[in-house]
């Protein structure tokens, strides 16, 4: 337990979350560092493609939509958190 924000601990757990998302998407570990957020979002859109016509909702589309939404949002938040924590580790004493 600490009394202040711990940027290194924050960066560590957020990086684990992003790595977990990458594993789910089937990205090789050796490619993690060269994968950008654009690569990840485009991959999700391509793999979990759905249209927005709710009158045609069926169970399988619901499932695909859910994967798309959960992965996109989770990855974007993890990326945002990592950007922040990395800056704090490198610049804030």
């Amino acid at each position: 337990m600490t009394t202040k924000y711990d940027a290194e601990a924050d960066l560590k757990i957020r990086s684990q979350h992003l790595a977990s998302f990458m594993y789910i998407l089937g990205i090789d570990e050796e490619d993690f560092l060269k994968t950008t957020i654009d690569d990840l979002i485009l991959l999700i859109r391509e793999r979990y493609a759905y249209d927005h016509d709710i009158s045609l909702d069926i169970a399988s589309k619901e499932y695909i939509k859910k994967q798309n939404i959960s992965l996109s949002r989770g990855i974007r938040r993890a990326w945002f958190d990592i950007q922040f924590a990395t800056y704090e580790v490198n610049n804030v004493k």
């Binding site: 600490t2 924050d10 757990i13 619901e62 949002r73 989770g74 958190d81 950007q83 922040f84 800056y87």
Partner: protein, 244 residues
């Protein structure tokens, strides 16, 4: 109900009989919240250099620098719906004061936590995340709280470190690697988990379907047999979970 389109009481709340000077506290909070939010957004985008696309993709929806509460400076007949969830949480504390509180979203709840500490002498813990860092940098000065910090790693590995109130926001529950069960397992018997914004957050997704983490964590809570869950779709929506 009158024939008006909107039913609102003519008077705002009567603060005069309250022991704690909520009116002054609320006025001060509102005055300080705006400049603090501007300073936070400046830090995030111009100093840290956060990708601006986050505004549309989860940044702003994490509420680092947008609406905070309370917002009592609206006209008397306007702010009621915003005040209700605030007062509901206050009422819960009043009925059953909580001594050990874990706040998941840092400074986002500072306007609640500070009075809790001052009125009920509650012990406050913050979860280690960027919102805590922003609180320390930009919000602590105007709303100082005595607190301890728990890292996510510490929380996950210390099963016996429990609380009687955990207060967070919907986005705190939407990470698939931090299931809502983690927080519920850290609640003492009779403890309460408060999830704010649990109605509005669904609009960030596709609200005509069940394809949303908001739906998912409510389902997860419903599947437990040791909790009662109450969802109140008032204003931004609030979900209250009481552990048996």
């Amino acid at each position: 109900m009158s024939s008006d389109k909107r039913y609102e009481p003519q008077m705002s709340f009567d603060y005069t009989k309250w022991v704690y000077d909520w009116k002054e506290f609320a006025r001060k909070s509102t005055k300080e919240d705006g400049p603090e939010s501007v300073a936070i957004s400046n830090y995030l985008f111009n100093v840290v250099g956060i990708d601006k696309r986050n505004i549309a993709t989860g940044g702003a929806s994490d509420y680092e620098f947008v609406i905070h509460y309370p917002r009592p400076a609206l006209a008397d007949s306007y702010g009621q719906s915003q005040w209700m969830p605030i007062l509901l949480i206050q009422a819960l504390m009043d009925i059953s004061p909580k001594k050990r509180i874990l706040a998941l979203s840092g400074g986002l709840d500072r306007f609640r936590l500070k009075p809790f500490q001052e009125i009920y002498n509650s012990q406050i813990y913050f979860l280690n995340n960027k919102k805590l860092s922003l609180y320390e940098k930009f919000q602590y000065e105007n709303a100082p709280i005595e607190y301890g910090v728990l890292t996510q790693q510490y929380l996950e590995s210390n099963y016996n470190f429990t609380f009687d109130l955990i207060i967070g926001w919907s986005q705190d529950m939407e990470n698939p690697f931090i299931p809502v069960d983690l927080y519920l397992d850290r609640l003492e018997k009779g403890g309460i988990l408060i999830i704010q914004n649990s109605s509005d957050s669904v609009f960030l997704y596709q609200n005509d379907t069940q394809a949303s983490p908001v739906w998912q964590y409510h389902q997860d809570i419903k599947s437990r047999d040791d909790c009662h869950m109450y969802h109140i779709p008032l204003f931004y929506g609030i979900t209250i979970v009481v552990k048996q």
